[in-house]
Structure formats: structure tokens, C-alpha cells
């Protein structure tokens, strides 16, 4: 099967997920008016949001995997999401409340946090040439721990209600999103994905390594900074609005690579669609598994992602990606 046919198949599945998922879990409600309200005011914005956030997280994960040439490198494993979380937690803690062009200040705080984290990881990985992927991941883990303990500190110092707000949000959830959140998220994720679609050849070259990329005429450094910027923007916006939903950026691009190959011309759109559909499915599970109550979607993705991470770690021991 050609990559274009496979992509079409993924598109069909995604559309099916988008159409079916809003109606799951509606049958218990008898009053049609309430049903209608739930569907249009809660369900549909939530599913739209899940799609956009899932697509953004998956595509950012894919970019990290290509840039660092490592299937385990994602905004989460490298501490970028923790940086974003710290930024947003600080925003809550310090009692800031502002918005620029109707975009909430926490988004900017999270964006700054992720940009700082990624600059940190990247400059450490540049210190020595021949930097092994294990060291890179350990750097990410160290940065994650560091930021996480700062978040704990902030939580400890906060009053009960702020502290609970931070904790609940750190679990990653889509419970309370509305149309406004969709509109907050959409521009950031669209810009990021747009740039990444535009750079599909460049991503292929980055995956071949700096030496080959440079000798094929790619301005590696410039491309990398641009990618850092747009992925930080995207991860920052997502984390600020729905907390760090982990592991999507690792699982989805990896599965897509197995399905469609590693040419980013096909891989990027496939990852985008699959990532969106995947988060909707996880969120639907989170919604239904202990209905009428629900659990944060981040719990589901992390439960799936942990074993997947271990499987990758064992499998990738003897291949360099």
C-alpha cells in the first residue's frame, strides 16, 4: 500500500472517531433538552479541544524525535513540558492575571518555561560532540525532576485553593474546556503545525544527522531554532490550558512511523490526525470508565505510555533510530 493510501485510511478512521465519540455516554440521559445542551456546549468543544491538543502534542513529539534522532526524545521526556508547567504554576502562584489579545497570561508563562527548558537541554547536549542519547535523556530527566520539585515547592507555599488548582491541572484533564479554550489553543497549534508541515524535507534531513544535513545544504542551526520556537509555543499553549498530558508525543509518532514510514511528507499529516484521534479516544475512556464520575485523561495516557516507553527502551538498545 502506498503512503498516500495509508494516510487516507488514517483520515477515514479519524473522521469516524470525531463523529462517533460525542455520542458515547449520552444514552443515560432521557431529557432531550439536557442531552442537546451536553452535546453542543460540553461534548463538542471538548472533543475539538482534544483533537487540537492531541495533534499538537503528537506533532511536537515527532519533531523532537527527528531533531534529537531518538525515539524516546519528546517534549515530556526532555523536561520541556515540566518547564511549561513550572511557568504556568508560577503564574498562578504569583497571582498574575493578565491577557494579551484575549490570550491568557498563563499561556505566555508556560511558553517561556518551555523555551527555557529546551534551551537548557540543547545547550547541555551541545557541550560535547558525540553526546549519547542516554545522556540526553538523563539530562531531560534531571531537568524534569528539578522543575517538578520547584512546582512542589510552589504548591507547598500556596494557599489550599491555589494548591488544589495546580495539582488538579498537573494531572492533565479536559473536563472543563469550552469553546473559548478551543479558540485560545487553535492559533498556537495551527502556527506550529503549519511551520512543521512546511519543513518536512528539513526534518528528514535533520533525522539523517547534522553532517549530512549540512552537506545537503540545510542551515541546520537556523532550522533548529525555528523548530524550538514553534514547538515551545505549541507545548506551552497546550500545557497552560489542559496540563501536561504525557506520552502522546512519544507513542503516536512512533506508531505512525511503523504505519507510514519515516518520510515527514507523509509522517507529519499522519501524526497530526492520529494524535488528535488518539487523545479523543483516551479522553472518551477517561470519561466512561468510572461513569458518572471521570478521571483526568493524563492518567490514561500515562498508564498507556509508561509500558510503551519501557518497550521502546528495550527495543532501541541496538538501533540508533
Amino acid at each position: 500500500m502506498k503512503p498516500s493510501h495509508r494516510l487516507l485510511l488514517i483520515l477515514v478512521v479519524t473522521i469516524a472517531v470525531l463523529l462517533i465519540s460525542p455520542f458515547l455516554g449520552l444514552n443515560g440521559i432521557i431529557n432531550p433538552e439536557i442531552q442537546h445542551h451536553i452535546l453542543t456546549q460540553l461534548r463538542i468543544p471538548r472533543i475539538l479541544f482534544a483533537f487540537i491538543a492531541g495533534a499538537g502534542l503528537a506533532v511536537c513529539g515527532m519533531v523532537f524525535q527527528a531533531m534529537f534522532r531518538n525515539p524516546l526524545a519528546t517534549p515530556f521526556t526532555l523536561g520541556v513540558a515540566s518547564g511549561a508547567s513550572l511557568g504556568a504554576a508560577l503564574y498562578v502562584f504569583l497571582g498574575f492575571s493578565f491577557s494579551i489579545m484575549s490570550i491568557d497570561g498563563s499561556t505566555f508563562a508556560a511558553f517561556l518555561g518551555s523555551l527555557i527548558a529546551i534551551s537548557f537541554v540543547y545547550s547541555i547536549s551541545r557541550l560535547r560532540s558525540g553526546f549519547s542519547s542516554e545522556t540526553l535523556l538523563l539530562t531531560g530527566v534531571a531537568i524534569s525532576f528539578f522543575f517538578s520539585s520547584l512546582i512542589l515547592f510552589i504548591q507547598y507555599m500556596s494557599n489550599i485553593s491555589d494548591s488544589f488548582r495546580i495539582l488538579r491541572w498537573l494531572m492533565g484533564g479536559l473536563t472543563t474546556v469550552g469553546y473559548n479554550d478551543v479558540l485560545q489553543l487553535l492559533p498556537f497549534v495551527s502556527i506550529c503545525i503549519g511551520v512543521i508541515l512546511w519543513l518536512s524535507r528539513e526534518l528528514n534531513l535533520l533525522m539523517a544527522g547534522d553532517d549530512i544535513a549540512l552537506s545537503r545544504g540545510l542551515a541546520v542551526q537556523k532550522t533548529r531554532y525555528l523548530l524550538f520556537f514553534v514547538t515551545s509555543l505549541c507545548v506551552g499553549a497546550i500545557v497552560a490550558l489542559c496540563g501536561p498530558i504525557g506520552f502522546i508525543g512519544m507513542m503516536v509518532p512512533h506508531i505512525c512511523r511503523l504505519l507510514i514510514g519515516s518520510d515527514h511528507q507523509w509522517l507529519t499529516p499522519a501524526t497530526l490526525l492520529f494524535g488528535g484521534a488518539f487523545l479523543i479516544i483516551c479522553d472518551t475512556i477517561a470519561r466512561l470508565i468510572i461513569a458518572p464520575s471521570e478521571i483526568p485523561v493524563g492518567v490514561i495516557t500515562t498508564l498507556l505510555g509508561g509500558p510503551f516507553f519501557l518497550w521502546l527502551l528495550i527495543r532501541s538498545r541496538n538501533t540508533s533510530f
Partner: protein
């Protein structure tokens, strides 16, 4: 001063350490330059400086009378292509996808795959004779096959100058001969200038035109290849004595390293 590539007083420093200093040479159209030297002499560093992978700290590299530093990376890739030291099999691409990337210097975002792209790729495939394994994955290739694919990808760039970093070091004798035959063919039939880093003295002496011998980041010797095979040159370069004999088949002079024990006598 008519060379397509002129290197003048080139110096390279990495992290405060001088890796190359005062390197001078020139490569004309259709020239074949071999860079020899012991391990750590700066041979690969020199190729990477020409390719823009290592930054130069002093001196000047000019390409067709134009300073290389003024060219964009893309423009540079239209003039110089590069086959790095063996790692083709670590790349997770299909052969066809990898070769395609050689057309990057001529493409812009969202531009279509043009007829010129297709022709360049077909020609590179034909010259390197890799048609049989286009659909295979790079990690599944043998060392010799992978090297031909790496050369094909560089040929897609259609550059007048090709740099190769120890293209045969990890190959068995049969594939060494095969890859060297291919490089000579590119040089003689397709008029591509070659700069090759090598450890194969006899190949360098007989098949290249000029030799640049590096030691400790400096030029030890630079001249026509025919003058390389002399005891004092080789002794100075490698700190190793050599004996010379005629190749029984071709009659050409070949150098053989002496046994360590015979140095005593």
C-alpha cells in the same frame, strides 16, 4: 589561481584547541587530491571545514574566486558534496528516500519534484549501479552497497566537487577495489573533482593526481602523487619505515610497511 577551490592559510580551532593551521592547497576542475596522514592529523576536520560543518578560525577558502563564507549553505551544497565516514547503515531511511534528499539544494518548500530532480536521481542511480536495492532499508545493506548509496546521494547534488572521507576503510578488498573504481570513473568520465581522505598509500600514489600529507594539523608535504612513494616522505609522515617493490602484475611501485623487528637491524 584558476582552481575551483582554493584554500589559503586555513586554520581551524575547536573549543580552544588548534586542529589545523596554515593549510594551503588548490583543486582544479577534474583534479583528484588525496589527503593522507596519521590518525588525528586533522584530515576529517579539513573536509568538514570545507563543508561548513566545522567553522574556520583563520585563512580563506574560495570557491570559483568567491569566499566560501559568503555562500549560503544551500548554494555551497550546489558546488560541494560530501560522503562522510561510514555510517550509511545507521540511517533509518529507504534507499530511494535517502537519495532523494540529495536534491534538497535545488528545492524550496512545497516545490514539486521536477524533471531535473528525477533526471539527476536516475543518473546517480545508473552511475553507482544501485537500481536493485532502491526499495530496501539502509540498515539492511552491506557495507559496499551502503557506500555506493552514500555516493549516489552525493551525486544527486550534481556538484563539480566531491569530498569523500575514508570511503573504503571499512570495506573488504573486493569492495575497496569496486568503490575506488567508481570514484576514478566519476573523476575521469564525469569530470568531477575529488578530494579523498585515505589511508591507502598505494591507491593514493597511483590513482590521485595530488597529495596533501597532514601531520599534527599542519601540512607536511604537498605535491604530485607520483613523488609520494619515497622512504623519507613516508617515514616522516607515519613514523614508520617502508620498503618498496614492483607490483608483480602491473609493475607499478608499491610501498609496504616494515615489520617492527626489522627496524632494529
Amino acid at each position: 589561481m584558476n582552481g575551483i577551490l582554493t584554500v589559503k592559510k586555513l586554520g581551524v580551532e575547536v573549543a580552544g584547541k588548534t586542529l589545523l593551521s596554515d593549510i594551503n592547497f588548490e583543486v582544479d576542475r577534474g583534479d583528484y587530491l588525496c589527503i593522507l596522514g596519521p590518525n588525528g592529523a586533522g584530515k576529517s576536520t579539513l573536509l568538514k571545514a570545507l563543508m561548513g560543518i566545522n567553522k574556520t578560525s583563520s585563512g580563506e577558502i574560495t570557491l570559483n574566486q568567491q569566499p566560501l563564507s559568503q555562500l549560503s549553505q544551500k548554494l555551497r551544497a550546489q558546488h560541494i558534496s560530501y560522503v562522510p565516514q561510514a555510517h550509511g547503515r545507521q540511517l533509518n531511511f529507504s534507499v530511494a528516500d535517502f537519495i532523494k534528499m540529495g536534491r534538497f539544494p535545488y528545492q524550496s518548500a512545497f516545490s514539486d519534484w521536477t524533471l531535473a530532480d528525477k533526471q539527476a536521481m536516475d543518473r546517480a542511480i545508473e552511475i553507482t549501479n544501485i537500481n536493485d536495492f532502491l526499495t530496501r532499508q539502509m540498515p539492511s545493506l552491506s557495507g559496499g552497497e551502503a557506500q555506493r548509496v552514500m555516493i549516489a546521494a552525493a551525486l544527486c547534488q550534481q556538484t563539480p566537487l566531491l569530498l569523500l572521507d575514508e570511503p573504503t576503510s571499512f570495506l573488504d578488498p573486493h569492495h575497496q577495489v569496486e568503490v575506488h573504481h567508481l570514484i576514478r570513473q566519476l573523476n575521469q568520465q564525469h569530470n568531477i573533482s575529488i578530494i579523498e581522505v585515505s589511508h591507502d598509500l598505494n591507491h593514493a600514489a597511483h590513482h590521485s593526481e595530488h597529495i596533501l600529507a597532514l601531520k599534527h594539523g599542519k601540512t607536511l608535504w604537498y605535491g604530485p602523487s607520483a613523488e609520494l612513494l619515497q622512504a623519507d616522505h613516508l617515514q616522516a609522515l607515519y613514523d614508520q619505515q617502508f620498503v618498496f617493490t614492483a607490483h608483480p602484475q602491473t609493475g607499478a611501485m608499491v610501498a609496504l610497511p616494515c615489520e617492527l623487528s626489522s627496524e632494529m637491524s
